[in-house]
Structures are given as C-alpha cells and as structure tokens.
Amino acid sequence: MPLRTPLYESHLAAGAKMVDFSGWEMPIHYGSQIEEHHAVRRDAGMFDVSHMCALDLSGPDARDYLRHLLANDVAKLTTPGKALYSCLLNETGGVIDDLIVYFFSPQRYRIVVNAGTAAKDIPWMRAQLAGFKAELSVRRADNDNPVAIIAAQGPDARERRSTGNDAVAMIAVQGPRGRERFWAAFPASRTATEPLGIFQAAEWKEWMIARTGYTGEDGFEITLPADDAAQAWQNLREAGIKPCGLGARDTLRLEAGMNLYGQDMDEDISPFEAGLRWTVDLKDAARNFVGKQALTAGQPRNQFAGLLLLDRGVLRAHQKVITPQGEGEITSGSFSPSLNQSIALARLPEGVAIGSEVEVEIRDKRLKARVVKPSFVRNGTPLL
C-alpha cells in the first residue's frame, strides 16, 4: 500500500494524475504541468508537500546539537521564525540530505527534510543526539500513521505514538499573487504574516506560515494540523490558487536553480561540488560540525553550473557534457516552460568559464549548449 498524505482525496477530486514518489502516491499534474508551471510564475499555484517530513526539536541543548549536526550555522538565527537552509553531511563531507530549519528559540526548532530521505535521516539525527539534551519528534502523517510519532531522547529512544493527533500536513502556496490569494482565503492570518521577510515564519493559531518555497517565486509554505488540511486546500482553491503537481514543482525549481536531493547531490558529493558553498558556514573556527574535517581537507575538482541548450532537444540527467577542460555530467535537465528552451544543472570540470560553449551528447548527436550561472528565472523574470 503506497503512502498517502492527508490531501490524497483532495487530489483525486481535483483530477490529479497520481504517481509513485519515494513510496508516496502524489499528484504529478492535474491536466497540464506546463499550465501549472505558468500559473506559479504568473499568478498563484499550490503544492501538497506533506510527504516532506517535519521534525520538531526541543530541549536545552537543541541549539548546540544543530551546530554540531548541520553544515550551516544556526547561531545566525536570532529572530523567532527565521529559517535557514542547510546540508546534513556525513563524516566524509557527502550530503545525506538538504533541509530547512526554523528557529523559535534556542531550545525549540522545526526541521523539514525530504520525503525519500527521512527514513535514513531520522536514525542518523537520533544517533547524533548522543550527549545532547534534546528530543526529536516526527510530525509527518500518512495513511498508516495518521498521528505523529514522538521520539524520546537519545540514540536508544523508543518510539511512541502520540495520544492526540499531532500530525501535520504541508501546503506550499507560490506565485506573485500567492500571498494575496492566501490572505483572501484566510484574512485573519494577514496581521501575523504580512510583516514576514523572506525565509521567515510566523505561528498563527496552530499553523506555521513561512515565507519560503522551492520555485523562485514569492509565497508561503504552511504547516498545519493534518485534520485542517482538506478544508484549507478547499479554501485556497476557492481563492483562485491552482493545484500544481510534482511535475511543475520540478521545472520551477530547476529554473530557479535549486538543487534536488538525489539528483544534484548525494552522499558522495560535497556541497562544494553541488553549488552549495554558500550554505557551509566556516566562520566560527571553534565549531566542529559533522563532515567539516573532510570538507576542509579536500579540494573540489568540479564546479556546479547551468546549461542552456542552443540547439533543439531536451537536456536530461546523466547526459555527458564535453568541454575543453574534460567531461562533465548533467545532474538535472528538462524543458523550461518560461524560457521555451531546454535547461540543465551540471557538474563540470573546474575552469569551464561561464558564457563558454560546450557540447552535450544526446543519443547519437552532440548538441551545443552555453554555460550559464545556475539560476534561470526568478520572480517571473528570466535572468539570462
């Protein structure tokens, strides 16, 4: 039986075509993924992201624990609600996952990790709890476990089911009119959420509303009790927000130059080779986070760049890139609905210049592509 989010029935009612995604039965589109993509760039769309896994961390050592666990430094989070993107590294400096951590107080954080990686992240995060006074609780809901799982402290913790329904769902509302339409659906939330800066969240009722996203557009990501999800989805639809599937989510994040875990980086790739140097915080020399030693010892051989296909065709993951400095590889590629042209993210040898022309092997042909910065569209506007 595939896993289903609290919004499964809502997707079927909206005419979704459902596919398997990391064991979850999720909407790929509701008719046309290109129309959904344009809705987010031009107006507002929403995604069910309840398959991503929300974890709540609390305890006197929560801050110290995260400073040990993550490559980015939560010490820079001082305003309640402020969020930080970070990699979770292994000892060799490879990326176990990428995540967002929300700060509420030095004793209380929320962490959101990827759907397909949660099963390995959680044991890893628990093992790293050794010696820290903090507790990690899984808040994700599915059809097998409609209530949250609460973990006790430490690596040998036994799981126990919550007695009430502490499970959450997550909905991402994205697009230039996303926030306006959200406020039309939930006017009482406006006072709490209008002052929010980028990458900042507020708690409203039992909801967490964050000005974050994975599309390159403005908007909110809302974490709410699983029991509220279907009604909220309905209200948002009535406010003119278009349901969008994983297909559009992928082309939107690709245009925004945002990495997808498992494609653009994995446990054998360092953040330095995945374009994520900006997320590794080495400023505090006294801070020893997992993977730091390996990261600072090695020298990256590859750079992360964008490709714009100049010939007709479609760039795809794992296609070979031929450059004067040697071979590279596409990590994510697709057709860009905003640019009406194919784009990709690629790992290329050091020394390949932005603006230079390279070749991509597609079946039996070699097609021309231009090397660009790995960010193609932001806030509805092409950057090239």
């Binding site: 046309s32 993924q33 297909g247 065709g313 479609v314 795809r316 057709f335």
Partner: protein, 126 residues
C-alpha cells in the same frame, strides 16, 4: 481513452493507417500522449531512411521524459510532419490528426500491418 476504429495499433503505443496512395501514416496514440504529458520536442527520422518493423526511428520528448517511437512496419520514410515538429504540443491536442511520419511499405508490410492490433484489442491492453 480515444482509439479510432479505422487505425491499427502496436502494443508499444504507435498507430498506423494504410492510406489510399499505398503509404502508411504513423503516429502515437491518445493513451501515449496522455501518459507522456506535455510534449515539447520531436526528433523525426530523415526522409529516405529505410526502417524495419520494430526499429526505433523517432523520439517524442515530454517535459517529463523521452520516449522512443518504433516503426510498426518496414519500408522507406517518405514524409515527416514538420508542422508537428514545430508545434509538438499539437500531439497532446489530437494525437491522431498530428501524425509523425509516413512509410512507403516494403513487400513484407502487408503481413506486418495484419499482425498489428485493432482498436478493440489495443484498448484491451490499456
């Protein structure tokens, strides 16, 4: 799912139609376009290329994936649908009006055409 009765079908989701001039027109089925999603690129065979039944000779790419197209009959490619190549999304609108290529059949083609599925048999595979 739309499967017109006047066409023959391959299990790999191509349709074929023997026209009055003796050529065979080939495209992908409504089921195939639906499964692929938004189509954004067609790679069509060169006119004059000789293909065997079951040979890969075109590629249809949607946003989601690339899909190989196999010729249901042997023969020579005599025409390609450049209008469809210029507007690949037209296949999502009507997969039967927007064909991909035409084959002048080889001598073996009558048997190959006969071995294809009719609309009912194809619909039963979906």
């Amino acid at each position: 799912m739309n499967t017109p009765d006047n066409l023959k079908y391959a299990a790999s989701h191509e349709w074929a139609r023997l026209d009055a001039d003796g050529t065979v027109t080939i495209g992908i089925t409504d089921h195939a376009q639906e499964a692929l999603g938004d189509i954004v690129f067609l790679e069509l065979p060169a006119v004059g290329r000789v293909v065997k039944a079951g040979e890969e000779c075109a590629v249809v790419e949607s946003v989601k994936a690339a899909s190989d197209i196999y010729s249901p009959v042997s023969g020579e490619v005599v025409d390609i649908n450049q209008a469809a190549a210029d507007a690949p999304e037209s296949i999502n609108t009507d997969a039967y009006a927007n064909w991909l290529f035409r084959i002048k059949p080889a001598a073996t083609s009558a048997a190959e055409l006969g071995a294809l599925l009719d609309a009912t048999a194809y619909a039963a595979t979906l």
